[in-house]
């Protein structure tokens, strides 16, 4: 007796949406076992990880704040992934957006005006787009692999930021620490709820996710992007330009990552610092796939991902759960999701050996 892996002919329509939920349940069970083994009360630990942060305004506001950059970036990246355009460098595009937007804030330091924030946002989008334009140009003009170029430009962006805040943009009253001035009020996003860090950027993220859904599902552009990705030959017959789709999706990904960068520096951080992103640009790739490259799915995936971070802090504070255990839980979630994805597309069938087969 042996087992055979074979492709499913028909994938039930609901299956791709059921598996993430099942993966999450599997993660909960496996995490509970892990916690029990390392000496923590399983239900209590799961409660601190996944429930407690949802019970306070503070927790919910932090959840939205943490999910916002992930969703914003993932929506942009997903448009490219749909078209087989692999922008891996959103982290760098985020940094360049923050640099451009932060630059506006520093140029107009001390000035007041309603126009400063919108200008920062535009500068941030432009900064992120400019950084994404490099791999887009090299890809469409010289067929250079955009994965490598966009990824490597991330490190260039990080060093460029460091150079600025160690040099010309260093806070003159900052005791020579690598940081810019703290932005003035006009360059800081307004807070939505008093006493929390929830800012107006979160609302824009919601709008972007909705707009992304409409564009991808209902517009000709969305159709072109999907066709170029899933049926390149058909797209060519239909006269859809592949180069155009590369440009549009790269710029969308870069622009939204740049906007996310502005929201970080004009929001929770309030200045330019060397480490202004804890890897949002990379985590967003995971979020995009967790959300099935669908803007609304991404919204949910971003919130789940953010919850695992915030719950992780919470569990460390409340019950002393080690940070590494939180990392294992996050990894298990991804593992189960990938495994279930495999089972969506393939099935494992038991076959009799020897003569019975063939």
């Amino acid at each position: 007796m042996r087992f055979k892996v074979e492709q499913r002919r028909h994938i039930p329509h609901a299956l791709p949406w059921i598996t993430p939920v099942l993966s999450f349940i599997c993660t909960l069970v496996a995490a509970a076992i892990l916690f029990a083994i390392i000496g923590y009360e399983p239900l209590g630990a799961l409660y601190q990880l996944f429930v407690a942060p949802l019970l306070t305004v503070q927790g919910l506001s932090e959840l939205a704040l943490k999910a916002s950059p992930l969703v914003l970036i993932a929506v942009g990246l997903a448009s490219g992934f749909r078209a087989n355009v692999w922008n891996i460098g959103a982290e760098g595009q985020l940094i360049m957006g923050a640099v451009a937007g932060g630059g506006v804030a520093l140029i107009f330091y001390g000035e007041e005006g309603f126009w400063i924030l919108p200008l920062m946002c535009l500068a941030g989008i432009a900064g992120g787009m400019a950084w994404a334009a490099i791999p887009a140009f090299l890809r469409t003009r010289f067929a250079v692999n955009e994965i490598l170029v966009s990824l490597m430009l991330t490190y260039v962006a990080g060093l460029f930021l460091t150079m600025l805040i160690l040099g010309p943009w260093k806070d003159p009253d900052g005791m020579n620490f690598p940081q810019s001035r703290i932005f003035s009020d006009s360059a800081t996003l307004p807070t939505l709820i008093e006493g929390t860090r929830l800012n107006a950027g979160v609302l824009i993220t919601l709008l972007v996710a909705l707009a992304g859904w409409v564009v991808m599902a209902r517009s000709l552009l969305g159709f072109q992007i999907r066709t170029v990705g899933s049926a390149p030959t058909a797209a060519r017959y239909a006269g859809f330009s592949r180069s155009r789709v590369v440009w549009i999706t790269m710029l969308a990904g870069g622009g939204l990552a740049g906007l996310a960068g502005v929201f970080e520096v004009a929001g929770p951080i309030g200045q330019l610092i060397p480490k202004l992103t804890p890897g949002y640009g990379f985590t967003a790739i995971i979020v995009a796939f967790l959300g099935r490259l669908h803007p609304l799915g991404i919204l949910v995936a971003g919130l789940v991902m953010a919850l695992s971070y915030i719950g992780g802090d919470n569990a460390q504070v409340e019950i002393g759960l080690p940070n590494a255990a939180v990392g294992v839980v996050q990894a298990m979630l991804l593992f189960f999701l990938l495994a279930s994805d495999f089972l969506v597309r393939y099935r494992i069938r038991r076959v009799r050996s020897a003569g019975a087969a063939t």
């Binding site: 932090e62 951080i269 992103t277 460390q316 504070v317």
Partner: protein, 366 residues
Amino acid sequence: MDVKTNRRSLLLGAGAAAAAGTGLLSAPSIIGRAQAADPLKVGFIYVGPVGDFGWSYQHDQGRKEIEAALGAAVKTSFVEKVPEGPDAERVVRQLATSGHGLIFTTSFGFMNPTERVAKAFPNVKFEHATGYKTLPNMAIYNARFYEGRAIAGTIAALTSKTGVAGYIGSVPIPEVVMGINAFTLAAQKINPNFKTKVIWVNSWFDPGKEADAAKSLIDQGADILTQHTDSPAPMQVAQERGVYAFGQASDMKSFGPKAQLTSIMDDWGPYYIARTKAVLNKTWKTGSVWHGLKEGMVQMAAYGPGVSPAAKEAADKVKASIIAGTLHPFAGPIKDQKGVQKVAAGAKISDADLEKMDWYVQGVQA
């Protein structure tokens, strides 16, 4: 693990919940229990994992000393591996809202987040390591690591054959810059041509990058390594490649039994205990502490097998003179990289100038 107080109360709470047969729904009662507890809750946030065997590890030792010294009067908790970015404020806030009365934030990048949370929670006391901002409820503390660097520099010059040391730098903040300078100046008192080559890894804790930097410094001719990063990775490289190194923050002898010459160790325990007692006695006041060898906040590990008797003698003399106040690591004359005299003979660099130092002395290749 020293979270047993926490964990035990949780287990009790969970046990009670299970007995009541209500499962998950009764979980809030566990929280209620924890918050109703009497002892002073003392929270810590670390930039690295507690198992970095360097900076964060040493702060965590201090936390454990609080528990050992004050027992049931306190309850401590910590969050490790908190990035110096948008997440830091959330974690500090989380500690403040969950009933902590005293919070230690132990990395420079936590300064502005700590300040913002401190303003929102005037009744909670905050202690920030290595920064420069204070508030009525936010004190700062740091150690004069550069005093230990002067001892290390002395040993380095008497041990090195090439006259070149490799220095693995984290982030060029004044504390790191002054360490590089103190090390180089002390070495040059013995060997005026002594050179220090610096590689920046732009991170406090990144064992991979730290090890790579260590290797390339050795390849560039350094036969002594020293670091201002938090992991023992450079020490391990030194051990493998047969060169010498100085440990950082903690005794790293076990990672380089032959390689370690000595280590500059941070001892936060006494300060942490004193500040916690002050909160318990309601005598806590804000302030700024910068302690060194004399007060014991900076200590030197036992000399390794590579330190010659002559080097031992010289190092002991430097240490005794710093403690006695007869030797200042930044006494003039001091020239900068371009050879311009920055400090005249007979003068020395003041604390205020040290705290914002952004230039290197002659012989530093950064």
